[in-house]
Symmetry: C2
Subunit: 421 residues, 2 copies
């Protein structure tokens, strides 16, 4: 049993950490609430004013120029934050938060096919880094606080606090997980999510009605062998979709650089290509987040959970997003990865004879888990988004996709701790 002196020092340490983490969580949660509210607003605005898409190349160049003039090290984005957690040095500049916030909102207003988790992670990371500097924390504490910032950003923006916490620990090193920051990271993520809810933010609901073989009074879940094998086969496809996405961004980037060596001009290429694609395909479903479609019945994440069948939506979203990210639009990858995964699940469901909502759910978390190399966080995300009944299918999807997605990943600063095979 600890001595009295030890107990006092433990209590003081606890209070010191709570004094750091609670304000950080409240600030990150509130920023995420404002961010989600703005995203909702600009998306509705874009739905009602489709012609705004023609401004996309200019908006992209304007955002890129603002980074060029004022960004400095903030342009490093997610990778800078991962680097700083591994090896705290100069810290993450505070200006990263407003820059990425405004850059992402502008990107979404004009219809770039990007996500929102990059923004949440970068806001969380840069706020945490500033806290660490103000309080002159040592390297170890700085690293924990940064991880908490990343976790709380992701937890609040998707309404999945435990996913955020496990993601924060899991994303740093491929194939390994370090527990020493577990509790501070989880506490920050839970409080940030709570704060975001207190601002009246509601997250989209993805209705997975399939519930295994559960009967009243039974355990919630009992796996069906044939269905399980089918989900495992689909998961291989999910893993290859993750891989195609990561490789796509990784390979298109240098090509764009060759065509147009001026960094702040590159978004113009992506903007023009996006406009051409919309014109060619005659649909605006692949612009922006894709959680909702501009018209009823359009391809969207929510609609992939319905009984309507969408054949190639996942591939088109992949093309739109790879172009937007490779030419420098801000926001992130995850919501487009959700779209690709849920869309591919929807497309494969009738082929394999699997309930569509179940496979859309598995695909949604598995393609994300494969691309970001966070299989456990994504299994838990399945539980937090869709409920616990189908956890065996979510885990199977995420673990197989993780194995099949290769070592590239979308975060290049991720260390390879333990190779996959």
């Amino acid at each position: 049993m600890p001595s009295f002196k030890e107990s006092i020092s433990f209590l003081l340490n606890l209070l010191r950490w709570l004094g750091l983490l609670v304000p950080l969580a409240v600030v990150v949660g509130s920023s995420c609430a404002l961010f989600l509210w703005m995203l909702e607003w600009v998306t509705q605005y874009r739905f009602m004013h489709p012609a705004i898409l023609y401004g996309l190349p200019f908006a992209g160049v304007a955002v890129a120029l603002s980074y060029y003039w004022w960004g400095g090290r903030a342009g490093g984005g997610n990778n800078l934050i991962i680097d700083e957690i591994h090896q705290p040095s100069e810290g993450v500049p505070l200006r990263m938060a407003p820059l990425v916030f405004i850059g992402t909102v502008v990107s979404h207003l004009f219809g770039a096919s990007v996500g929102r988790e990059g923004t949440a992670v970068q806001m969380g990371g840069s706020l945490a880094s500033s806290f660490a500097k103000w309080f002159r924390l040592d390297k170890r504490s700085t690293s924990i606080l940064l991880t908490a910032g990343v976790a709380s950003g992701l937890g609040a923006v998707y309404g999945t606090p435990i996913t955020g916490a496990v993601f924060g620990l899991e994303v740093l090193t491929l194939g390994a997980l370090d527990y020493s920051a577990l509790l501070p990271v989880a506490v920050t993520s839970i409080i940030a999510d709570w704060t975001c809810h207190q601002w009246g933010i509601h997250h989209a609901v993805y209705p997975v009605t399939f519930k295994g073989l559960a009967a009243p009074g039974q355990i919630p879940f009992h796996v069906d062998a044939v269905l399980w094998v089918k989900v495992a086969i689909a998961a291989v496809a999910f893993g290859f979709a993750s891989r195609a996405f990561a490789e796509g961004v990784y390979r298109l980037g240098p090509v764009i650089k060759k065509i147009c060596p001026t960094p702040w001009l590159q978004p113009a290429i992506g903007g023009v290509a996006t406009i051409l694609l919309v014109w060619l395909l005659g649909t605006r479903d692949y612009l922006g987040l894709g959680v909702m479609a501009p018209e009823a019945g359009g391809a969207s994440i929510v609609n992939f959970f319905s009984t309507t069948h969408y054949d190639w939506s996942w591939l088109l979203k992949l093309v739109f997003t790879v172009i937007a990210l490779a030419t420098g639009y801000k926001g992130g990858e995850v919501t487009p990865l959700f779209f690709i995964g849920a869309g591919l699940g929807n497309a494969l469901a009738p082929v394999l004879g699997v309930p569509g909502d179940l496979l859309a759910g598995v695909g949604m978390v598995a393609v994300f888990g494969g691309a970001v190399n966070t299989p456990l966080a994504c299994t838990i995300m399945g539980v937090e988004l869709f409920g616990g009944a189908n956890i065996v299918y979510y885990a199977t999807g995420c673990f197989i996709a993780y194995l099949c997605s290769g070592h590239t990943g979308i975060y290049l600063s991720q260390k390879v701790g333990v190779p996959k095979v």
Copy 2:
């Protein structure tokens, strides 16, 4: 993209692994089914013939003698398996499986307060080790197969396959998790659990009816700040209960050795002590697994989820179990830890003003997570046993209990990868 030759070699590798893992899973799952069926039978028999308790000292000595004569290295139990996973050497003897099976069934027939996961883990581990020897696997593959054996034993015996998989990886090293065995371990655990169900085994249902603030059409869960703080406070108590349990077993063992240096005679002390305690307290509720009580309304894990209040049941179970384990009865720690955790949750619920079923559920997984140092597996266990709605509370309970439980743990072969504080 992989070449044709790579794909063929990948496929052959996959088939080879499936050829190993599927039979292993079926054998482990079937053994667990037989084991659970026998446990149910002997528990019912003991309920109907209470006088059998007087045979406990003799039964304990008989089991200990059988280990003394025929056990050899099998007496190393869980720790031998963890050692063999870290550093495969001579392997785990196959005789461990029947010895621990019979030893545990006999212990439960006569009323020792022990668990069942040790048996499942050891059956899984020794079967896996034999598979590895028959197929002459290299050290790395042997280690993966052993982990799969451990995971599938735990997954099948509690009906929680994903918990089993994460537990298998998490239990090896305190504070770290290695992903390279993730998929084979999960596949084995899922198939073993499926097999166990196919034999008609039903697991006990622990009814957590509390469901956060969920409303139809909302996300399944929305944390309540006051309730969350209360659960966090209870979790500190759960952590200290884990610590008291682990330290109790750790410290009582040497005392028993001093009193009685003959190893096979030690169970006699535990048996007599158990009889005296039953006589003194006038209740048989603390014998055996404790999932059900011999009389309606008695202290039991299932009843801790009801509205009845049990004050000190958790402490009495702790005393019974520490005595049984320290004097060498076979079976394991986890079901008694469930009892202690759920009982402590039940006791604290009215004091803190928390729904009793919720706190019983949190305590059940948190005390286990703290004693075995597997916070993530136990969070997932909360989801697999009680459903996903309260995952934030399960995670909070497990993470805090993990931090407060100290570095002892009940598995002494666990390496300390990353210290907790």
